[in-house]
């Protein structure tokens, strides 16, 4: 539940896929479509001579290469930078506080009450880890539409009723709400983790 721009991800994948599809189809058609192969050859010849002429016409003073090579290098650099931006754009959106509420400016310098994520996470994790029917838990917070949302992820043991897990987690979050004043917006995810699958089934007969 991070801030990854999913639409951007999809647009990027779509564009790359489309380019591969078009280029691949163009190359794949060479064997089956003589007309197209002839066009490719013609275009190849004109392009090669045009590029050779252009390279000869624009030499860098004191070197045996063209300005065009520098331009091509610059273009590649820009593509690499865009790719790095795309990679770093993924993720993010974590929130350092789970709850904020304006309070009067009586006395205090701060006009907001903030509950730090680590405080809530520690408190919740401590309680969750004591449950015998859970094998793991993660607690964090994200900002969704400028609003902090507490995210609780639990991995129950095999066969545990998710309704039961939900009720338990609910109690814990309500207890937290008693401490911090109001129930934070919460997202609970119940995972079937690898550990739950591998863990021995505790069968009682």
């Amino acid at each position: 539940m991070n801030d990854t721009n999913r639409a951007l991800n999809r647009i990027f994948i779509f564009l790359v896929g489309l380019i591969l599809l078009v280029v691949g189809a163009a190359v794949g058609a060479l064997q089956f479509w003589p007309w197209w192969a002839a066009r490719w050859e013609d275009a190849g010849r004109t392009t090669t001579s045009a590029v050779t002429d252009a390279l000869k016409a624009s030499p860098v003073p004191g070197a045996d290469f063209s300005w065009w090579l520098l331009a091509a290098l610059g273009a590649l650099l820009i593509i690499v930078i865009v790719m790095v931006l795309i990679i770093t754009n993924v993720g993010g959106g974590g929130s350092r506080e789970i709850y904020r509420e304006p309070i009067g400016k009586r006395g205090g310098a701060s006009d907001r009450r903030l509950i730090d994520t680590t405080f809530a996470a520690d408190a919740l994790k401590h309680s969750l880890d004591k449950r015998p029917d859970l094998v793991g838990s993660t607690v964090g917070a994200f900002t969704v539409k400028r609003q902090p949302v507490l995210h609780v992820g639990v991995t129950p043991r095999q066969g545990t009723s998710p309704r039961l897990i939900m009720t338990e987690a609910d109690t814990l979050i309500n207890n937290l709400a008693l401490v911090v004043g109001d129930a934070p917006a919460t997202c609970l995810t119940i995972h079937s983790g690898l550990r739950a699958k591998l863990g021995r089934d505790q069968r009682v007969r």
Binding site: M1, T4, R6, N9, R10, I11, F12, I13, F14, V16, G17, L20, L21, V22, V23, G24, A25, V27, G28, A29, L30, Q31, A37, A38, W40, E41, G44, T48, A63, D64, A72, L73, L76, L77, V80, M83, I86, I87, V90, V144, K145, Q147, Q158, G159, T160, S161, P162, R163, M166, D170, C187, L188, T189, I190, H191, S192, A196, K197, D201, R203
Partner: protein, 191 residues
């Protein structure tokens, strides 16, 4: 304070396509770095790593005259197929194997595997069979329960059906699921 639960649920039940994006971006960046290296080597008058830029251009221009053309075409078709898969990957919904459980004031998301193992345990308890003889698969709109009775010990089909219906109803899933209970006619050899 109304939390943006619809958005949270949507994001938790659909793939962000992050892995594909990162893989593609890394591959493209590496390819560009390689091409840039060849350009720089050419500028410095050094021998190329694999191929000079001029030779690469000539190869591309003369592609239809090269042999074996069949292999080149096959390569192109493979490339096009990868492209097609990526386009489909971008367009398809990317729904994850998860359900939303309706609960007031919270967004609750459950993996289908958790639902399946919980239903399986309920069935095993009600039917009095080992859990390995209760197979449950949960998909987006369907739950299929396969019960294999222990040989010689009949199971109460109506009771199992009622238990499964109750269990699923207690989850209150979105989207709702229909369920099918199948009792195998050949039992498992007793354990």
């Amino acid at each position: 304070m109304t939390a943006p639960y619809a958005r949270i649920v949507r994001r938790e039940t659909h793939s962000p396509r992050t892995v594909t994006t990162i893989v593609l971006a890394v591959v493209i960046a590496l390819a560009c770095v390689y091409a840039g290296t060849e350009l720089v080597l050419r500028m410095l008058g050094q021998p190329p790593l694999l191929v000079t830029p001029e030779a690469a251009l000539d190869w591309l221009a003369a592609l239809p005259t090269l042999q074996p053309l069949g292999a080149i075409s096959a390569g192109g078709i493979v490339l096009a197929l990868i492209g097609l898969l990526l386009v489909l990957h971008a367009i398809r919904s990317g729904r994850l194997a998860r359900h939303q459980m309706v609960h007031e004031g919270r967004a609750v998301i459950v993996d289908n595997g958790v639902l399946a193992s919980s239903i399986a345990r309920t069935v095993a308890l009600v039917a009095g069979i080992p859990q390995s003889q209760a197979l449950v698969s949960v998909s987006h709109r369907r739950v299929i329960v396969d019960v294999t009775p222990t040989s010689g010990i009949p199971v109460d089909e109506a009771e199992i059906r009622a238990a499964v219906a109750d269990e699923i109803a207690s989850y209150d899933l979105r989207p709702p699921v229909r369920h099918t209970v199948r009792i195998n006619t050949t039992g498992a050899v007793g354990s």
